[in-house]
Amino acid sequence: MRFAILVLLLMAGCASAPPSPSPSASSSSTTRQPAPGSPPPEGITVKTESIAVASILQSARADAASGRLANAAASIERALRIEPRNPRLWNELARVRLQQRDWAQAEATAARSNSFAGSDSELRASNADLIAQARRAQGK
């Protein structure tokens, strides 16, 4: 009985298989279009910040060091408006969130940093560390 059902279903599967595609080897144009969204070779990982972002970061770090965490976070957000895809800024924000004991945000923000980090292994390690700390604090 089971076998019969299986056979039927298999046949049904065959019936809805695509018609044999005819390979059109006769085509003259052989231009290979790179698909939109295929990973671009550059411009993703930002190694150095613009001077605008660097100056904000400097004051954010000073704020964080002296415990003005809300100010530090607000400053980093200000920098993120200028360079929203800069993984270092997200990493920096995750660090402040950890100091603010906002564990869930620290974890998610570090993951956000990773999503822009590309092959920057140092930054990835830093994010992994932040995520681990945040998860420990949440008892995960």
Partner: protein
């Protein structure tokens, strides 16, 4: 005996009456003191747009900066410490005003901005040192007003020019400095003049203030007596300067749509565009003249009448020696000098301010918002807002002309947000952006049609063992039967079936049959869970028709869902507010950027690439008329039954925008998402110079070259495309054109295998294997 008793009774009555009067006076005294001191002026919460942050590399043309400065009231070629700019060979010199921001006060400063290739190429201060970042003061965009929409800018008496005070006293209350709150001679003259018909006010400034401050506008003897007593009490407790200052801040001076202009501080700003300190003799005489009848002497509507009234004030002031004859003569010859009416009312951006108000009400009492003068720093970008308004209004007018459906006309809504920060940069709630009314961006619940499809494809692509971008989907007709629901028979937009189509093509072309079949295979509830994870708040009943968008959402809710896709799977709540401070600038609240990973990076990456296909080769191809292909925008069109709703939701590298068009009464609009909403979106984005959407592939993604005919590996095949796959999910076999052996046969084999796989899993579960 009898008369004795009568006298006693009379005495008691007098005594009681005296006591009652004393008690009444005491009560009034309490009110006067309590309200005059306790009641500060209710100040509206002030709402500001985002401040423009200038820095090297910022995409900004000189004309755009100039426009921003003009909107802020900076004068071209002006003088003084701040508030002006000057054109310098290809650049601008700006004297930036001081401003108290959330993170502290920023002094006035001089900066020189140079431009190259439509970007800022240099930023230097007066000493020619490099400036990393310069923040302009933010544009005030409205307020949350006290009852009667009273608006005012408080001024100190010391800030008010002496000639204004002298003109006021000469016109309204000549014996102000010598009377005790009332002026018998003035009253007698007023009584006389009311007989002769030549109207003159007999009230002193103190009485006028009492009337505005404490009393209702009825006319009765009791009221007049109360007014008199309270005026005297006021004079007893406070000095002339205090009363005068309060009067100058209280008086009503005009109406700006729904906003009431009170006080000389705001009136100076509203009518002359300058601080009260800078009012000339003629300008202050106009304001003084308007006190008697702000609408009768409105200089915008009745300029001639206002001019005559102003010159009368000048004449009166000259008569009592408050002005010199030369001052009178010169001022009487001056033009009215009022600014063209901006007519912004309580705000030029009512739709956006409504969103701000809703977000504020979660944290603040309405009463505090209307009285404490809080400062609210928002995310609105006036440039983006202007582009959104222009694109929507222009297109709606054009569609109205083309379709001639008559009144009420077509409506629409637009939301623009930053893709990574979730900041709402623009919000248009209808075809008249200035109109405060039904806010379609927030409150129109409309079927979203194909805008739900990305949720279906995201559900599928989250399972790489069964679905990739090239998985063949069956686009043949089918009927969906479910217990307790009517049979559902979806149809394609073109009423055709397209056979077997690759997954990415089914999304790009928005095929209904293949998508609906995919959705039912995955499970409607599972798809709805994905939609909720994206940010949809509702949970509609899991009928199959939901798969093709039979769910009503507002443009804002749609924007929230697409924001999650645009930000790489991180749910980022859309925000309209950055910070709130007290009137003095003390920080109260910072609304921080928060993120939550809702989806792994890989399926979101695949979905985004597929949504780029919607623009490059699918239903949103028309976009290429506005933005070049290298921007590689991603999006999805939506069109509902009988074309009642036209949608487009999409994003570039820096902005996400959602556009909706339709009729409020749900008439058939005969507009499709691709033909009607896409042009609005394209025009809006093109005006802003979008950043390309450079999707960075997550680690676990590999690229394979695919033959579009077979969906197999196709290096060297005609029209082959590079597509991303989650590692291990790419096809293993090569197409014949890429040297594959029996590729055609294998393709069938794989397709069969793919089709059977889910069934096998199902059977396994069914038979408990």
């Amino acid at each position: 005996m009898r008369s004795n008793g009568f006298v006693r009774l009379l005495l008691v009555v007098f005594l009681l009456a005296g006591l009652a009067l004393a008690a009444w006076a005491l009560f009034l005294d309490f009110r006067v003191r309590h309200e005059f001191e306790g009641r500060r002026f209710a100040l509206p919460a002030r709402i500001y747009a985002r401040p423009l942050e200038l820095h090297e590399g910022l995409k900004l043309k000189p004309a755009e900066l100039e426009q921003e400065l003009k909107a802020l009231g900076y004068k071209d070629g002006g003088q003084g410490e701040s508030g002006w700019y000057r054109k310098t060979g290809g650049g601008l010199e700006v004297a930036v005003r001081p401003f108290v921001f959330w993170d502290g006060s920023q002094p006035a400063k001089r900066i020189r901005v140079s431009f190259a290739d439509a970007r800022i190429s240099g930023l230097r201060d007066a000493a020619d040192a490099q400036v990393p970042l310069a923040r302009l003061d933010p544009l005030p965009i409205g307020g949350i007003y006290p009852a009667g929409n009273e608006d005012r800018l408080l001024v100190r008496l010391s800030e008010v020019p002496p000639h204004l005070v002298r003109e006021l006293i000469a016109t309204e209350d000549r014996r102000y400095y010598s009377h005790f709150g009332f002026d018998l001679r003035g009253m007698a003259r007023a009584a006389l003049s009311s007989v002769t018909g030549h109207v003159q006010g007999g009230s002193t400034l103190t009485q006028q203030l009492v009337k505005n401050f404490f009393l209702t506008p009825e006319r009765s003897i009791t009221r007049k007596v109360n007014e008199l007593i309270m005026a005297v009490l006021l004079e007893l407790h406070y000095d002339k300067a205090e009363i005068l200052e309060t009067y100058l801040n209280e008086i009503y001076l005009g109406q700006d749509r729904d906003r009431a202009i009170h006080g000389v501080g705001l009136a100076a700003q509203y009518f002359f565009g300058k601080p009260v300190q800078d009012l000339t003799v003629a300008e202050s005489a106009l304001l003084v003249g308007m006190i008697r009848g702000p609408s009768y002497y409105d200089p915008h509507r009745n300029p001639q009448r206002a001019l005559e009234r102003r010159n009368l004030v000048l004449k009166l002031a000259g008569e009592v020696g408050a002005l010199t004859p030369e001052q009178v003569k010169q001022a009487q010859g001056a033009k009215l000098g009022v600014q063209p009416r901006a007519a912004s009312g309580t705000t030029p951006y009512p739709a956006f301010v409504q969103l701000v108000q809703r977000q504020l009400r979660r944290d603040y009492k309405d009463e505090d918002l209307r009285s404490e003068g809080l400062r609210v720093f928002t995310t609105l970008d006036p440039r983006v807002q202007a582009a959104a308004e222009r694109a929507l209004v222009r297109r709606i007018e054009q569609y109205d002309r083309d379709k001639r459906f008559g009144a009420p006309g077509l409506e629409g809504a637009v939301i623009v947000a930053g893709t990574q920060t979730g900041e709402v940069q623009a919000l248009v709630g209808g075809r008249d952006p200035r109109l405060r009314g039904f806010n379609r961006a927030l409150d129109a619940a409309r079927p979203i049609g194909s805008l739900l499809k990305p949720a279906i494809y995201l559900t599928a692509l989250s399972d790489p063992s069964h679905y990739t971008l090239v998985t063949p989907l069956d686009d043949s007709p089918f009927v969906w039967k479910a217990a307790g629901a009517p049979d559902w028979k979806p149809e394609n937009y073109d009423r055709k079936s397209h056979g077997m189509v690759p997954l990415r093509t089914a999304l790009a072309q928005s095929y209904n049959l293949s998508t609906a079949r995919l959705g039912t295979t995955l499970g409607v509830e599972k798809v709805l869970q994905t939609a909720q994870k994206l940010g949809m708040q509702k949970m509609p009943p899991p009928y199959a028709s939901v798969l093709l968008g039979a769910v009503d959402l507002s443009p804002l809710e749609v924007a929230q869902m697409y924001e999650t896709i645009a930000s790489g799977g991180f749910r980022t709540p859309l925000r309209a507010i950055r910070e709130v401070t007290t009137a003095e600038g003390k920080p109260l609240n910072h609304y921080s950027l928060s993120v939550e990973q809702a989806f792994p990076a890989e399926p979101i990456h695949l979905l985004s690439v597929a949504m780029q296909g919607v623009v490059s080769e699918g239903t949103a191809q028309a976009l290429k008329s506005w933005i070049p292909p290298e921007i590689a925008a991603a999006g999805k069109t939506g069109t509902t039954d009988s074309q009642r709703d036209a949608w487009f939701a999409g994003f570039t590298g820096d902005r996400l925008a959602v556009v909706w068009l339709g009729y409020d009464d749900n008439r058939e609009a005969h507009l499709s998402g691709g033909a009607a909403a896409v042009p609005v979106w394209g025009e809006l984005m093109a005006a802003l110079g979008p950043e390309p959407l450079a999707l960075s592939a997550p680690e676990n993604i590999e690229t394979a070259t695919i033959d579009p005919q077979t969906g197999l590996l196709g290096k060297g095949c005609p029209g082959a495309v590079d597509l991303p796959f989650i590692k291990g999910s790419a096809p293993k076999d090569s197409a014949p054109c890429a040297g594959g052996v029996g590729g055609a046969v294998e393709a069938i084999g794989r397709a069969v295998e793919d089709a059977v796989k889910p069934l096998k899993g199902w059977l396994d579960r069914l038979f408990g294997r």
